[in-house]
Symmetry: C2
Subunit: 150 residues, 2 copies
DNA sequence: AATATTTAAGACAAGTATGTCTTAAATATA
DNA sequence: TATATTTAAGACATACTTGTCTTAAATATT
């Protein structure tokens, strides 16, 4: 699996928030219901995004979470790294410590290129574009068939 | 993590065996020692490769495992799919069941391209080439500093 | 045939990721 | 100020991956 489940859930929630252009707070309860993700688990994941200032949170009535900046200023990579870390883009594909240009493994070169492709894919796409694409095309970001963008 | 640890161990062992051009049986004990991988764990992993006929095994004295065909006829993808399955190349990056051209998620197109890159990378490189590269360049396929190709 | 060696198979243990539940802290609203 | 609502934090449970150990089956060698 490329991304952990936590990461996938974080991405889906972030896309949902990005579709909310006016940046109103959305409660995690609402998010968890729309996205069909366990409330408490999602809460913990979004806390990680709040911790690195990708999200802002507000406690109390009408509280919730929202993107901390416009959706086109947050890349998919930002979310992925916040949750899964940058191991995927740093580590050797054979798991060898210290694998790099000076002390490579046999797969280093080919993997470095592919790793770069993955990174670039995530870095050149932002939350707003993806949310727009989803909203306009009426595409799902959850397994449920009855998902609706806000 | 792109590949599971089992998969990485399987790849490393396969590369080691591929460097053994003459296709002699190598005991798993020897492999586990050279590659610094738990003997019993490696045994189980290699059984998976034997099960899909990528390896041949022989019990008893002077027994062990060897590639079932020339190293240039086994791609990295063969080994990866045998151990981790083809989920990585089939599944939606957001984990949505049924995500595909007809019923895509917003990330489907960009992910499908990247997924293809990964697959191509693994498919166009075979064990022999990688083993040769490692042997000729005196590159490691284990964390140990004193690793030696046979 | 007997023995030593080696893979096969499966039970079991440890570690990590995922998911649930309870309590605390903050805040809008009345 | 009191109350209801909501995120924060952490304990706990479950599932899966990784790793260990024991016994069985096969086979080369003597």
């Amino acid at each position: 699996m490329l991304l952990s489940k936590s990461c996938v859930y974080g991405l889906r929630a972030s896309l949902f928030l990005a579709s909310n252009q006016n940046s109103e707070y959305v409660s995690i309860k609402e998010l968890s219901k729309q996205l069909d993700i366990s409330f408490h688990f999602l809460t913990k994941i979004l806390q990680q995004l709040t911790a690195v200032d990708l999200l802002k949170s507000l406690k109390g009535p009408n509280g919730g979470v929202r993107l901390s900046k416009p959706g086109d200023e947050i890349t998919l990579l930002d979310v992925v790294v916040a949750i899964d870390g940058d191991d995927l883009f740093q580590e050797c594909v054979l798991g060898l410590p210290g694998c790099g240009r000076e002390k490579p493994c046999p797969l280093h070169n080919i993997w470095a290129a592919t790793r770069g492709d993955i990174r670039e894919m995530l870095e050149t796409n932002n939350l707003l574009d993806m949310a727009k694409k989803g909203k306009e095309g009426n595409l799902r970001i959850t397994a449920k068939g009855d998902f609706e963008w806000v």
